[in-house]
């Protein structure tokens, strides 16, 4: 008789992710962000009660990867769509996942007002300082001096205005209970990002108010960098405009280190 070896699974694909290869470019932050969202949903047991609203932009195909109910919103309207869903199903978990063009440009009104109403919705905001899907045009979040196809020579504040800091803008609103800015450039920051996402989700479960996690995310393709250089650029340049950390926290949750 051969000896039976017992294996213990210590790492695998979260149930909230489908077994589908993604279309994202090498070094892109979306794959990491998707995984973090999926892990948090699994750990909180939320997959079967989640309705997700992906953006228009690179993550528009998120419904191919996430293994829960999903509805596509028109560009920028994710938080309006999510508001409608949440009002019908106050007991379900409603998540929007939006890029900077979606959330901070065309959808600015929807973002500010859903947050200000204190909608019990969790928002993941991917900030890569550029329009990815359409090919590298300037975003409202493009940092000063950064090149974009529609800002030749780099973003100039007199010509293009300055980068918009949506997270800090939202933090002044009474409906918002938690905002944290994290980065997807290193293992250490990715771990922090996961904690922030989980905390934002908890805000909805506990009926506290609107919560958002901003993720500074590399876009090697449109930044015209190697993945390694893009990660470094997040850590060294992007954080100067968008400093990492908790921007607002009135949850009353103890931060377990």
């Amino acid at each position: 008789m051969s000896e039976q070896i017992e294996y213990t699974k210590i790492f695998g694909r979260p149930e909230s992710l489908k077994e589908t290869p993604t279309h994202y470019c090498p070094g892109c932050g979306h794959s990491v962000a998707h995984r973090l969202v999926a892990e948090c949903l699994d750990e909180l047991g939320l997959r079967e009660k989640t309705i997700g609203v992906p953006p228009v932009g690179c993550a528009v195909l998120a419904y191919n990867y996430f293994n829960f109910d999903m509805v596509e919103a028109p560009h920028g309207r994710a938080l309006a769509v999510a508001t409608g869903i949440k009002r019908v199903h106050p007991d379900k978990f409603v998540l929007t996942y939006q890029g900077d063009g979606d959330l901070a440009a065309i959808g600015t009104a929807e973002t500010i007002h859903a947050a200000n109403r204190g909608e019990r919705i969790s928002t993941i905001f991917i900030n890569n300082a550029i329009y990815g899907m359409t090919g590298g045009q300037m975003a409202p979040t493009t940092i000063l001096g950064q090149n974009a196809t529609t800002a030749p020579g780099g973003r100039d504040p007199r010509l293009h205005g300055s980068p918009i800091d949506i997270s800090r803008m939202l933090a002044v609103s009474n409906g918002v209970v938690f905002v944290e800015r994290c980065a997807l450039d290193s293992v250490k920051e990715i771990r922090k990002a996961k904690k922030a996402i989980k905390k934002a989700f908890q805000c909805q479960l506990d009926d506290l108010g609107f919560a958002l996690v901003e993720l500074l995310s590399p876009c090697p393709t449109n930044w015209k960098m190697t993945p390694k250089a893009a990660w470094d650029w997040v850590a060294e340049e992007m954080v100067k405009t968008y400093p990492l950390g908790v921007i607002k926290d009135i949850t009353g949750y103890e931060d377990k280190k």
Binding site: D69, M70, V71, A80, T83, G84, I85, R87, A109, E110
Partner: protein
Amino acid sequence: MLMNGSQTVGEAAVRAGCRYYFGYPITPQNELPEYLSARMLDVGGTFIQGESEVASINMVLGASVAGGRAMTSSSSPGISLKQEGISYMAGMELPAVIINMMRGGPGLGNIAPSAADYFQATRGGGHGDYRTPVLAPAGGQELVDLTFAAFDLADKYRNPVMILGDGLMGQVMEPVIFPDFIELADLPKKDWILDGCKGREPRAIYSMLLGQQGELYKHNLHLQEKYDRITAEELRWETKGTEDAEVVVVAYGTAARIAESAIEELEAEGIRAGLFRPITLWPFPLPPLRELSKKVPRIAVFELSMGQMVEDVILSVGERAEIYFHGLPGGIIPTPAQVAGFIRSAVKGDGTVGRRIDV
């Protein structure tokens, strides 16, 4: 009950099972959201005054995909802003009811009644190859009946449905009788909604179809089949005194009610004028109007626009009867006597009021 048209639609919607209303104020339909803001509290529904028309229609989209009977209302410039969401809902096959109490345009126009949004309402309005059923009440009790019908049609075909009224209809008070509340539990079950994937495979509802196997092509053919079914099965119209008529007036909504009074005036003069009133503007009741045009020598089209529905009348009538048209831009409501002048002129074929259309 004695209520104005906008409130009438609000009460009818609640009784028809609408529990989710999202809107943005615009004159002349504010009595509707104001009424529902209070009424939704009574029935445990949701009323949100959105930050814009764009946000409001997308809240409707969200409530609809989640399975609720959802509605928004607006007036012309506001409906232009809602077209994005309406196109998406048509593409995603989501039911919703949209009320347009039309005002004068283009642009900001004015707040007086008009019927100049016929093209926008019946031709899609937003981008893409889609249609929305459009119901045109003539006011009063019909506002109640067609509001009920609109929610049922929307659910039956998984498609947005528009009720096209105007500022006059919205503000005139008329006596109406409401049916009882429908039981929400009695509504046909929707097996496509998003409510979390517990006990089933996850669902995704989207309008972007990038598939290399002609996914969008197939989807559009599927939508077209649905529109063909609606065209075959959902035509609504009304005729009055069309037998032995020497002229038939084609008009809808408020214009039809003015025309009705004009026809009564003409009766005293011995002019036999009938009325053909389309109730569905899309699908347009083309077959019955075509039949009528084989028996009547003259068709007189009267619109509170410079000529929009008349194009559908031309398609229906062809060269089978002479077509006369009289239209007025938004902002002025004519008297029955003025419309009678047009009909008289059409009967004589002298063209002093309105004009003859050469097909």
